[in-house]
């Protein structure tokens, strides 16, 4: 692609770029003339929104782990499983593969999302400890993976709809499924609120001195 002599950001050129259709407009233009989206050079509220959704998301993720995700009724009795409890149970029955998959998908990835989002927001405010390219990569992963966490809720729904074998076995969704779904939705909103252009703004400015207390991600 033909790069101009010295590539500059839209903000440095007194322009504001549309994040939907990529058209630049003079700074201060309220709406993009090409696609009609609202224009903002940087979303000034970005970090506040990220933190607000992040907190609500975390608030929902805690009960999602305390309440049972599934209730299984069989001839032998009733069993309530939390996310971690269910995985531990599977591992005890020798089903290590599935247990690991559940632990990675329902525990490691959601916790990782919270850590990365917090790290990105802290990095913008207090000076990043890792390169722009890496932070951008982390952000892309979190944005991409976010919606896939909903798979847990769908699996609960499928199992509950399917396993309705009268006295033999029935599965019903537990309260945790609602909290888990809400947690996924709120973390998606948190990731969407993050203005990725903020990551690159620090590229030009001087980097603050390293401070071990502000290590991120």
């Amino acid at each position: 692609m033909d790069l101009p002599e010295r590539v500059k950001t839209a903000r440095e050129q007194g322009l504001v770029g549309c994040t939907r259709c990529t058209r630049p407009s003079p700074a201060g233009t309220p709406h993009c003339p090409r696609c009609g989206s609202r224009l903002q050079s940087r979303d000034a509220m970005s970090l506040q929104k990220v933190w607000a959704w992040w907190l609500v998301g975390l608030g929902c993720y805690i009960p999602a782990n305390l309440y049972p995700m599934l209730e299984t009724r069989t001839l032998v009795g009733t069993q309530s499983d939390t996310i971690v409890g269910g995985a531990v149970d599977l591992a005890r029955h020798g089903n290590w593969g599935v247990a690991m998959i559940i632990l990675v998908a329902s525990v490691l990835i959601p916790v990782g999302k919270f850590v990365v989002l917090a790290g990105l927001a802290i990095g913008v405010r207090h000076g990043p400890q890792i390169s722009e390219a890496w932070r951008h990569r982390l952000y892309e992963v979190v944005e991409y993976i976010g919606r896939w966490s909903m798979i847990d809720v769908f699996v609960v729904a499928i199992l509950s709809a399917l396993v309705q074998l009268q006295a033999l076995a029935t599965i019903t969704p537990g309260r945790a499924s609602l909290f888990f779904a809400l947690s996924v939705i709120f973390t998606m909103l948190s990731a969407q609120s993050f203005d990725s252009r903020l990551i690159w703004d620090s590229a030009k400015g001087a980097r603050p001195a390293r401070n071990p207390k502000e290590r991120i991600a």
């Binding site: 839209a10 770029g17 939907r20 909903m150 809720v153 499928i158 709809a161 396993v163």
Partner: protein, 205 residues
């Protein structure tokens, strides 16, 4: 530093990192990336519009059929039970019935609405007609719905449920299971076909 208004139409700003480029001429099947953050900026395909409409129509039909036909059935001890997407949504009851609404929204209503909007926007473009009324708002909404359209995630959820149940009971594929498999492939294919820059530039009157 200062650009004339029609000059601005030939510039492109990376939506992810804010760098400004002169929009390059990109041949079909080529891609223009941002040099700094590697976001794909322009990725035109020949006849992409027609193919996108065809794929969107296919997915619409698949979603409609997959909603009502059972996708999995299980049997154990002479009892057999099958489930469709509608059964799945209504597995949540009482306090959890909000989730029934959410499941229907994420896997049926939002994906379908998004595809209908996309067809509405693209149909006049591929016939070289002026854009449909409020086409810009329609495409904006369709784009905003992308992350919330989760039909393909549900399809993979079926595979996970299948693995979880396989040593508990006998599991059978219903007719909709094959529709789901096709759906995942088509959703990925249409994602690769879509060049948002090309669509936006053809929508400006």
């Amino acid at each position: 530093m200062h650009h004339a208004p029609d000059d601005l139409d030939n510039l492109i700003v990376c939506p992810t990192c804010d760098l400004v480029y002169r929009a390059p001429a990109v041949a079909a099947r080529e891609r223009a990336y941002c040099a700094r953050c590697h976001t794909v900026l322009i990725a035109p395909r020949r006849k992409a519009g027609k193919q996108l409409i065809a794929l969107a129509l296919t997915v619409l039909i698949l979603i409609a059929a997959a909603t009502v036909f059972p996708f999995l059935a299980i049997g154990a001890g002479g009892v057999r039970h099958e489930a469709s997407v509608l059964d799945t949504a209504f597995a949540f009851s009482g306090l959890l019935s909000v989730l029934a609404v959410a499941v229907l929204l994420f896997i049926v209503i939002i994906p379908a609405l998004r595809l209908i909007l996309l067809i509405y926007v693209l149909a006049p473009i591929i016939r070289d007609r002026p854009p449909a009324p409020r086409a810009k708002a329609a495409f904006r909404l369709s784009e905003a719905l992308v992350p919330w359209s989760m039909a393909e995630i549900f399809a993979l959820g079926c595979a996970v449920a299948l693995v979880k149940l396989s040593d508990l009971a006998e599991v059978f594929f219903g007719p909709a299971a094959w529709l789901f498999a096709a759906l995942v492939v088509i959703v990925v294919a249409s994602d690769r076909l879509m060049c948002r820059y090309s669509i936006w530039t053809s929508l400006k009157e």
